[in-house]
C-alpha cells in the first residue's frame, strides 16, 4: 500500500516563526502536492511538484514556498507564519501521465497564535 506520511499531526507556532511541514511518500511517485483545507472552502492547492527540484504554483502560493531535493520528500515552508495560515495542511502524491489518483497523508493541523 502507498504510504504518505507527514511530520506532525498537530503543530502550534507563533506569528513570525518559520515553519517547516514535511511530507514523505514511499511509492516512487513523480508528483507531490500541498493543499490547505478550510471549512467551507474545500481543498485548495498551494504548490505542486512534478519532479525533483521542479515546482509549480497552485491557486494560493502567497506566503508559502516549497522544496523537493529528493523524489520521496516534499517540504512546505511558511517563511513568516501568520494567523491566517492557521489551517489543516494535506500532502498528497501520485504517478504522472494525467490519469492517476492521489494518495493523501493524514494531515497537519497548524495553529498560528
Amino acid at each position: 500500500d502507498v504510504k504518505v506520511t507527514q511530520s506532525s499531526r498537530y503543530l502550534v507556532k507563533r506569528t513570525g516563526e518559520k515553519v517547516f511541514l514535511e511530507c514523505v511518500q514511499d511509492m516512487d511517485h513523480e508528483n507531490m502536492f500541498w493543499y490547505r483545507q478550510d471549512p467551507g472552502l474545500g481543498l485548495r492547492l498551494i504548490y505542486f511538484s512534478y519532479d525533483v527540484k521542479m515546482k509549480e504554483k497552485g491557486d494560493i502560493p502567497e506566503g508559502y514556498s516549497v522544496s523537493r531535493e529528493k523524489k520521496e520528500r516534499f517540504s512546505l515552508i511558511l517563511e513568516s507564519a501568520s494567523t491566517n495560515q492557521t489551517s489543516m495542511y494535506l500532502c498528497a502524491s501520485s504517478y504522472s501521465e494525467f490519469r492517476y489518483e492521489q494518495y493523501f497523508g493524514p494531515g497537519t493541523r497548524l495553529t498560528v497564535t
Binding site: 504518505v4 508528483n31 502536492f33 493543499y35 467551507g40 472552502l41 474545500g42 481543498l43 485548495r44 492547492l45 505542486f48 512534478y50 497552485g58 491557486d59 489543516m88 494535506l90 498528497a92 501520485s94 504522472s96 501521465e97 494525467f98 490519469r99 492517476y100 489518483e101 492521489q102 494518495y103 493523501f104 497523508g105 493524514p106 494531515g107 493541523r109
Partner: protein, 111 residues
C-alpha cells in the same frame, strides 16, 4: 478557483438507505474522481471515472458522469454508519496532473 461544486452540502440518512451526492464542474476534464474524508483525517480515493466513461461501479459505489451537463453523481447503496464522512469530487483537467476539489458533501448515516 473552485471547479467542482457538490450538492447537497450535507445529507442525513438512516442505515440501509441509499445516499446520492452530485458534483458539477465548469471546464473540460480528463477524469473525475471521488474521495472520502473521515473527520480530521486525510482523503482516501474511492473511484475514478474517465471522460469517455458514463458509469462505473465499485462495491456499493456507483458513479455516473455526464460530460454534456458537466456533472457527476456518487451513489452509495445500503449505507452503513461507517459511511459517515465527507465526500469530495475532484476533476482532473486535460494536460495536467493537478486536481481541483469541490467543497464536499457531509454525509451522516444514523444507525
Amino acid at each position: 478557483s473552485q471547479q467542482g461544486e457538490e450538492d447537497p452540502q450535507a445529507l442525513s440518512i438512516q442505515e440501509g438507505e441509499n445516499a446520492t451526492m452530485n458534483c458539477s464542474y465548469k471546464t473540460s476534464i480528463n477524469n473525475l474522481q471521488w474521495y472520502r474524508q473521515n473527520s480530521g483525517r486525510g482523503l482516501v480515493h474511492l473511484i475514478l471515472i474517465r471522460s469517455n466513461e458514463r458509469e462505473k461501479h465499485s462495491g456499493r459505489l456507483r458513479v455516473t458522469l455526464d460530460t454534456s451537463k458537466k456533472s457527476s453523481s456518487l451513489l452509495i447503496t445500503a449505507s452503513r454508519a461507517a459511511d459517515t464522512a465527507s465526500y469530495f469530487c475532484a476533476t482532473g483537467l486535460k494536460g495536467t496532473d493537478k486536481l481541483i476539489f469541490g467543497t464536499g458533501t457531509r454525509l451522516q448515516v444514523f444507525p
